[in-house]
Symmetry: C2
Subunit: 424 residues, 2 copies
């Protein structure tokens, strides 16, 4: 049997007998001719039949025929004189028309029927962007001496917020789903100096927002032997640049189909200190311990206007709004060696320098009035010599949503999990 | 400040002033000279001091000095005339001597102190092999048109064995940790045709064995438009070959340190039918529905002896020992279009062709006397036109353990989770 040809490659085979395979994307019956549009992972192929053929949308077909040039056909080539084999017939019609330029269904309906809805070229394209982004993330870090790691998602105690964790019955013991690989990636700086992980994290987020999921994919990195958080920011800048480059390189068709605009990543991303940012924002921002979403939008606008950058670092957040492992600024210890990276109006990344001395951890917990016992495993790591280190975490779905201008992070998630959704 | 130089690069800087940083791996005080061996992520550096220096093992130091050729030093170069800065001092000594060629501690002790034990060069090296393996896996599939996906680890119903799942409280509803991405990767064949995922899977394995973990890293792949399981086996062969090549290329030092031998992956891996294999094994194997571990070892020995291959496919397992979604052999429907890949005596990979027609799923469940209702979401996927497809899953930790000759899969896991272990 001749090898299968993908739609995107068909133009190289004009005049040859070819075999294509895919799903019936659309069928149009005219008086003396039937057009089948067959969809495969690379695109669409037009097949011309001299007779009627009663196949429903999403029937899986194999088509053997002649690749024939035709300027009117998608890609300038169509298949004539076809022999069609039905590989699989649907048991029911799809819940929406996949051939239309946009899916006309509400987000809940789309998510209820995700396995079918994702077949729509514009939905599928989002995940080509996602896949290219993780490729760029790994390439940037892999070429900078980082080791990829896989850490436990089941943990015995809760070290971060304490709230918003999923409980799990672990052989009769109480355990939790990890909210982040924070503990482990720090511990592994002691082993590999530089580590990254691409993996699921879990938040029992009790609010129904467009920005939060019960499970999302965290792109985590941590590196040792830094001077301070600025070394982390430099690695993050290069990582984001590599992600954008990988999307352009490996998902260019998807970007064009979605009419998305990729950002330029400046060689040095502009940066503003938290207090200066508050001063710029004026009276109702000043003195607050954090930035409100509206403030993040205003700062992003400012960075674009003044620096021509869609990215902006905000540095030096107050210690009291950062986790206890955050490293303070040496000269101004109520502020931290931390940063957020804003992208197109929202916080995309949080990161910073961490404490690295055992005594500093004990002091930080004591200052917050916290019992060190639940942190015992975590603290043990720092009893054995840890270098100055820091890191960051990028939420993959949030990144893709922002890059493609999707209003809801669920639109950048294959099968979202949230307060109301446990299926499909 | 001059840039930091890694131990492995020091030989390029002989005669220069350099800065290295790392952990005090060993300190040896002689009468008039002190040697510090400093460990970083790339190797060891010898530092020569004219005076005594009381620093404990695992102290984090920065050393500025002159790179000086010395055939007796590791790598043929050492640092003389040093200035030493202590970046971080341990609060307590390490629980074992990291400088000895092997860690002399039992596995439970090693695992209890994983964050320190993993600093030992031979332990760390295992994970360089692991990281290179996943790189090879992704490269093989990425260049063959596969899309990387991230699927839910929290599921609303249990579709595979039913036993051995972890229950979770999901906003007051009963949910489970996914035992595999099986459902999702099949559904996504309908979207992307070819998908892979590298992610955690969870098994509430109630037995304490050297081969099972409560969480492990599954390298999953699934592809559509196959003729049968042999197309899957061909992709698996190329994937394993790419994994071995990536280990040789990116973790060669680790392989040498561990004195491991990488296998040749034959252009075509030898294959034996299940029934023929039983006939070879003789009386006590014949008629059984599966192969015992001892049988797998015998078959592996046979493949090495007769075919010179450390890999062996066993195909055509009886349907009754395979999951309900398994595709039967067309000519012999009590046997399946499935395979195991044996490597050095153990089953490394399970895979095969799946059913793809909705009616076949309903019939398969009915034949097993199972209620289709818990499978509703799963079955919906097949109501909408699915191509013939199949796939496989490689357990990353099992692969690394076998490749490196480690007796226990926990030795290839950074922070294992099992019946008795929830920390660190």
């Amino acid at each position: 049997m001749i090898s299968r040809v993908l739609a995107a490659e068909l133009h190289r085979h004009v005049g040859e007998r070819v075999r294509v395979a895919g799903w019936v994307h659309r069928r149009r019956e005219l008086k003396s001719v039937t057009f089948l549009i067959v969809r495969d992972r690379s695109g669409l192929t037009q097949v011309v039949l001299a007779q009627s053929l009663a196949v429903g949308a999403e029937t899986v077909v194999e088509v053997s025929g002649t690749a024939t040039a035709n300027q009117q056909a998608p890609g300038g080539v169509e298949i004539t004189d076809p022999t069609i084999t039905l590989l699989s017939e649907p048991a029911e019609p799809p819940p929406f028309d996949l051939f239309r330029p946009r899916l006309s269904a509400t987000l809940p309906t789309v998510l209820d029927h995700a396995a079918v809805a994702l077949r729509h070229p514009t939905l599928r394209a989002r995940f080509a962007v996602s896949s290219a982004s993780t490729f760029g993330f790994r390439t940037a870090l892999g070429t900078r001496g980082f080791t990829e790691v896989h850490t436990p998602k089941i943990v015995g105690s809760v070290t971060e917020s304490g709230a918003n964790v999923f409980g799990i019955d672990f052989f009769g013991r109480r355990a939790y789903l990890a909210q982040s690989p924070q503990l482990f990636k720090q511990a592994l700086v002691g082993v590999f100096e530089r580590v990254y992980e691409v993996g699921p994290v879990f938040r029992a987020e009790p609010h129904d927002t467009t920005r939060h999921l019960a499970q999302y994919t965290s792109l985590d990195a941590e590196l040792g032997f830094i001077a301070d958080h600025r070394d982390v920011m430099a690695v993050l800048r290069d990582t984001v640049a590599a992600m954008v480059a990988a999307v352009a390189d490996r998902a260019g068709d998807a970007v064009r189909l979605l009419a998305a605009t990729l950002p330029d990543v400046p060689a040095e991303i502009p940066s503003v200190d938290f207090v200066e940012a508050q001063d710029m924002l004026g009276e109702n921002a000043r003195g607050e311990p954090d930035l409100a979403p509206a403030h993040e939008r205003l700062l992003s606008d400012w960075a674009l206007r003044v620096h021509g950058s869609e990215f902006l670092f905000v540095t030096g957040y107050p210690m009291r709004k950062r986790p206890f492992y955050t490293h303070p600024q040496p000269a101004r210890p109520e502020f931290s060696n931390s940063f957020d990276l804003l992208f197109r109006g929202v916080e995309l990344v949080t990161g910073g320098q961490r404490l690295h001395r055992h005594a500093d951890y004990l002091a930080a917990l004591a200052a917050r009035g916290e019992d060190p016992e639940p942190y015992r495993t975590y603290l043990d790591v720092f009893a054995h010599g840890m270098p100055p280190h820091g890191g960051f975490a990028i939420g993959l779905e949030r990144w893709v949503a922002r890059l493609l201008g999707l209003a809801n992070v669920r639109e950048a998630t294959l099968f979202p999990r949230d307060l109301h959704r446990l299926e499909p």
